[in-house]
Amino acid sequence: MTVSLQWYIGLSVVLFGMGALGLLIRRNVLVMYMCIELMLNAANIAFVAFAEKLNDIGGQAAVFFVLVVAAAEVVVGLGIVVAIFRRRPDATVDDLHMMKG
């Protein structure tokens, strides 16, 4: 690991910030899910960089579990999106206030 750890963490922070920014400013549910994927990938970069720095395989195992959780989350989330969009085809997240009291 010849590129120092700070660069990887900096890249991870910037990528996480961009994902959070997209999650906050976009109104399309699918694009918001993509931004969540960006944030998960930023966390993965940090995990692998620290694992490589500390010679610890736990970081790679954590990335493995993050991948699994991301896959399950996308399956359930897209199922919900399909269920909602079938009923109202032009819905953005601002229109989804069925649970508002």
Binding site: V13, L24, C35, V63
Partner: protein, 256 residues
């Protein structure tokens, strides 16, 4: 002594420069893809930007000598998750452009930008300026130097140290599958009912068809009472005879 140091430092530079170039290229790819995800109005273009960013992350994994995770990253993310995204986008036909002018919360976007910038710059400054301890390195050495390489080390770790999370992962997948099935099945019922009503309306002799089930129910109840009056002749036989009798009776009535 100085000559040795000079040779050593030049060797370090020689091994560092390609890595630095690869890191810069990967970071540019990742950031370009992330900007594409955020900026593009069309969700399909956002998904393609996500693919670009994920390939950049796989490149970073390769740079960190993590070949297995790079392969898994490409297979799982670009091969499964983004394809799922694209499938849902195409399936729902929501690839129309998003109306981004309307804000439900006034000042949300500038506030989001300011807060994210503040948090990111704060973390970067903390990381650059503060002195922090990382903890001790693993005593077993690098994963790639262990017998079997990185894949064997990862498998050993997952099936020993992280066995309980691994099992929880299995439960999570089963729950996710059940959730997806329930979410997609719940909408199927109304359309099926609508289809049955439509087919019944298309039938020319719907009056006799609507009479059929009611009369057959009456006949079944009557048959059951008769069996009850005849005594305990065996419930299984009574049920079977009533079931056999009822369709013949309904067919006779329909013919009449």
């Amino acid at each position: 002594m100085t000559g040795f140091l000079a040779i050593h430092s030049s060797a370090i530079v020689a091994t560092t420069l390609p890595d630095a170039v690869v890191f810069a290229v990967a970071a540019l790819i990742i950031l370009a893809g992330a900007v594409g995800v955020i900026v593009e109005r069309n969700p399909v273009h956002s998904a393609l930007g996500l693919v670009i960013a994920l390939f950049g992350v796989a490149l970073i994994f390769l740079l960190l000598k993590d070949d297995f995770l790079a392969a898994v990253q490409i297979i799982v993310y670009a091969g499964a998750i983004v394809v799922l995204f694209l499938f849902v986008i195409m399936f729902l036909g929501v690839d129309k452009r998003e109306v981004i002018v309307r804000e439900s919360l006034r000042g949300q976007r500038p506030l989001a930008l300011a807060l994210v910038l503040l948090a990111a710059v704060g973390i970067l400054l903390l990381g650059a300026g503060a002195h922090y301890a990382l903890g001790a390195s693993s005593a077993t050495g690098a994963a790639t130097s262990q017998p079997g390489g990185e894949v064997a080390a990862l498998g050993r770790s997952v099936f020993t140290t992280y066995l309980l999370p691994f099992e929880a992962t299995a439960a999570l997948f089963i729950i996710a599958i059940l959730g997806a099935v329930v979410l997609t099945k719940g909408r199927g019922a109304p359309s099926e009912k609508r289809g049955e009503d439509g087919s019944a309306g298309d039938e020319p002799d719907d009056v006799s068809m609507s009479d059929g089930p009611g009369s057959s129910e009456d006949l079944e109840i009557g048959a059951g009472e008769q069996e009850g009056e005849n005594g305990s002749g065996g419930e299984v036989g009574g049920v079977s005879t009533s079931v056999v009798r009822a369709p013949s009776a309904t067919s006779q009535e329909v013919e009449e």
